[in-house]
């Protein structure tokens, strides 16, 4: 252990304190939103909103939001649909295209690659996409959340680079053993690529969980909206609890705690899985940058 000079020791201490304060700053907004969500009407009337923790935490806001047949539970199902079905289709489309573009001696590979790259640089913009969705009849369909984003060029590139890094000898050996292209793909390449596919799948799944704008513009039907759009409606106080749930409630929770509870409801699943998946995300971010 090298002996530290006085200046360095002070730096060390200041550094630790700064990082602790920063960590608090990252967590504090989540904490206050949690405490806000637990405030009951009585306490709100008596004390106003702020305190680090309510004296008598109540779950009224959650009960209201999650009561049977509520729009929030329905929205959760929609979100699950887009996360599961969406991610699966994302992976199917991304992997196949990436695998083909990774073949060095494929005739026309350059042209295909340019074809896929151009949309990264130039896009038609919001309105032409909207007109397209309208024309092909995807407006107000849950598929509008899945199909327009089937392939992210960026994720596809990461996959392609991964496939290109696989040793070519594997394929040559398989051909000698009489394996056809399909066998090579399903029995050799895909099993070897599971870590990369899982990482990309995670990226897609989180993107689906968090997405809201596509649903907000393409879908009008309240019962087809995902959690994030319902949250936005509640934050803007525009939505969206159905009359029958409201009549069963004796005392309405304060709107601030209702909004906060909805934030918590739509965040908790991500926060639960995030610490376990963090290292895969970091790995994915690094693969993407090293050879992009």
């Amino acid at each position: 252990m090298v002996k530290l000079s006085r200046g360095e020791r002070i730096f060390e201490i200041v550094n630790y304190i700064a990082l602790i304060l920063l960590s608090v700053a990252f967590i504090l907004p989540l904490f206050t939103v949690l405490s806000t969500s637990l405030i009951g009407e009585a306490e709100y009337a008596r004390r106003g909103l702020f305190f680090l923790w309510p004296e008598q935490p109540v779950l009224a806001a959650y009960e209201l939001l999650l009561s049977g047949g509520s729009i929030v539970l329905n929205a959760y199902l929609i979100t699950l649909f887009r996360v599961i079905v969406g991610t699966f289709l994302n992976l199917a489309f991304t992997t196949t295209l990436a695998y083909v573009l990774a073949r060095r001696n494929l005739p026309g590979r350059t042209i295909l690659t340019i074809f896929v790259f151009i949309p990264m640089v130039f896009s038609g913009g919001l309105i032409p996409s909207f007109i397209l969705m309208d024309t092909i009849g995807l407006l107000n369909s849950v598929w509008a959340m899945v199909i327009p984003g089937l392939i992210s060029v960026w994720n596809m590139l990461i996959m392609r680079n991964f496939f290109m890094a696989l040793p070519q000898e594997l394929e040559e050996a398989a051909i000698v053993d009489g394996a056809g292209p399909l066998t090579i793909l399903t029995r050799i390449v895909l099993p070897l690529s599971m870590p990369a596919i899982a990482t990309i799948g995670l990226f897609y799944a989180v993107a689906h969980w968090n997405a809201w704008f596509d649903a907000a513009i393409y879908i009008k039907d309240l019962r087809k909206l995902p959690v994030q759009v319902i949250l936005r409606g509640i934050l803007q106080q525009a939505v969206m609890l159905e009359p029958e749930t409201l009549t069963n409630i004796q005392v309405m929770p304060p709107s601030a705690s209702l909004q906060a509870a909805m934030v918590v409801i739509s965040t908790v699943p991500i926060l639960c899985v995030y610490p376990f998946l963090q290292k895969y995300f970091v790995k994915g971010a690094l693969i993407g940058s090293v050879k992009g």
Partner: protein, 329 residues
């Protein structure tokens, strides 16, 4: 065919090469294509996806050169007369042009100014931590906001800044100030945008820098210590030069994306009270196009943005390549 019967002798070989049947190279190519049929088939769904959902909208910019309403339908889009650059002119001459362009560049510039150096500083701080569990914990916590949805972050901002007892106002009141509706005040709105942007992305932004720092040869530090360099000199002369190329590349691409000032974030947080300081190209396109139903005009504004963004991005890539880096493609 008639030419063939007339020509004889040495010309026949020329015929073979030029007219009859493909050249040997072409044959090889066709054979290769045939042999690779499986792969083209495999790529087909993905390529069709790009054709329909990326290329068709590109041709859809034709809307910007006509007078299309939501009720024109496909027929209208195809058959209405062209109006030339009418909508582009209207946009460039409009009252909103300077305001919207100014907001886009100012907000984006501010985000660059504060959002770009902060991950470097944080990475330097984290890199100096030698307690492994503490380092891991700080990293995990600082990456976390990156995974929250924009809607959730906007909810956190509203909760924090609420004029009805949000944490911020409680502090202000406790310090003797007056409760204030920050989110609808044009004086504070841009600061809120930049602040929440930095909060959400500063941690995640450290990843590449930390990776680059981990790649620096530890012998350099040992040699520097033997030469009597202190911590600050080591940071200044070893760590920073070691990550310079990452900094330059990220900066170039940040400039390449300068027209993206954060559409979703602004859309979720702004209100008519702050349009004057918050309205950017994307929000303007959204409002005039999807809410105001001016399809042609909004498309024109969008195309205007796409073209400038394309030039910026290609320029950024060109500069990155000139600097000997790979660029993004």
């Amino acid at each position: 065919m008639t030419v063939e019967s007339i020509t004889e002798g040495p010309l026949v070989t020329v015929e073979r090469l030029t007219r009859r049947g493909p050249r040997p190279g072409l044959i090889a190519l066709l054979k290769a294509i045939n042999k690779n049929g499986f792969y083209y088939l495999l790529a087909l769904p993905g390529l069709l996806y790009f054709l329909i959902f990326h290329y068709l909208p590109m041709f859809g910019i034709i809307v910007a050169f006509k007078d299309i309403t939501p009720f024109s339908g496909l027929d209208g889009i195809l058959h209405q007369p062209f109006v030339g650059l009418f909508h582009f002119e209207r946009w460039v001459k409009s009252y909103y042009f300077t305001n919207v362009m100014g907001n886009t560049l100012i907000i984006s510039g501010l985000k660059l100014l504060f959002g770009f150096p902060t991950p470097i500083i944080l990475a330097l701080l984290i890199n100096e931590v030698r307690t492994v569990w503490f380092k891991r914990t700080v990293q995990t916590i600082s990456y976390m906001p990156h995974f929250l949805s924009m809607v959730v972050v906007s909810g956190l901002v509203m909760n924090l800044l609420s004029s009805q007892g949000g944490l911020m106002n409680q502090f202000v009141v406790a310090l003797g100030g007056k409760s204030h509706a920050y989110l609808t005040d044009p004086h504070y709105f841009r600061a809120i945008l930049v602040g929440s942007h930095v909060w959400q992305h500063v941690g995640w932004g450290t990843i590449l820098y930390l990776a680059a720092m981990a790649g620096i040869d530890p012998q350099l530090y040992e040699a520097a210590m033997i030469d009597g360099a202190n911590k600050f000199q080591q940071i200044r002369h070893i760590t920073l030069p070691g990550i310079t190329f990452v900094i330059i590349i990220l900066l170039i691409f940040a400039i390449g994306g300068l027209l993206n000032a954060g559409f979703e974030q602004i859309l979720l947080l702004y209100s008519p009270a702050v349009y004057s300081v918050a309205d950017i190209i994307d929000t303007y396109v959204y409002r005039s196009g999807l809410l105001g139903m001016q399809y042609s005009f909004a498309t024109a504004v969008g195309v205007f943005k796409s073209i400038i963004a394309m030039i910026l991005l290609l320029g950024a890539n060109w500069v990155a390549r000139r600097l000997g880096q790979t660029g993004i493609w």
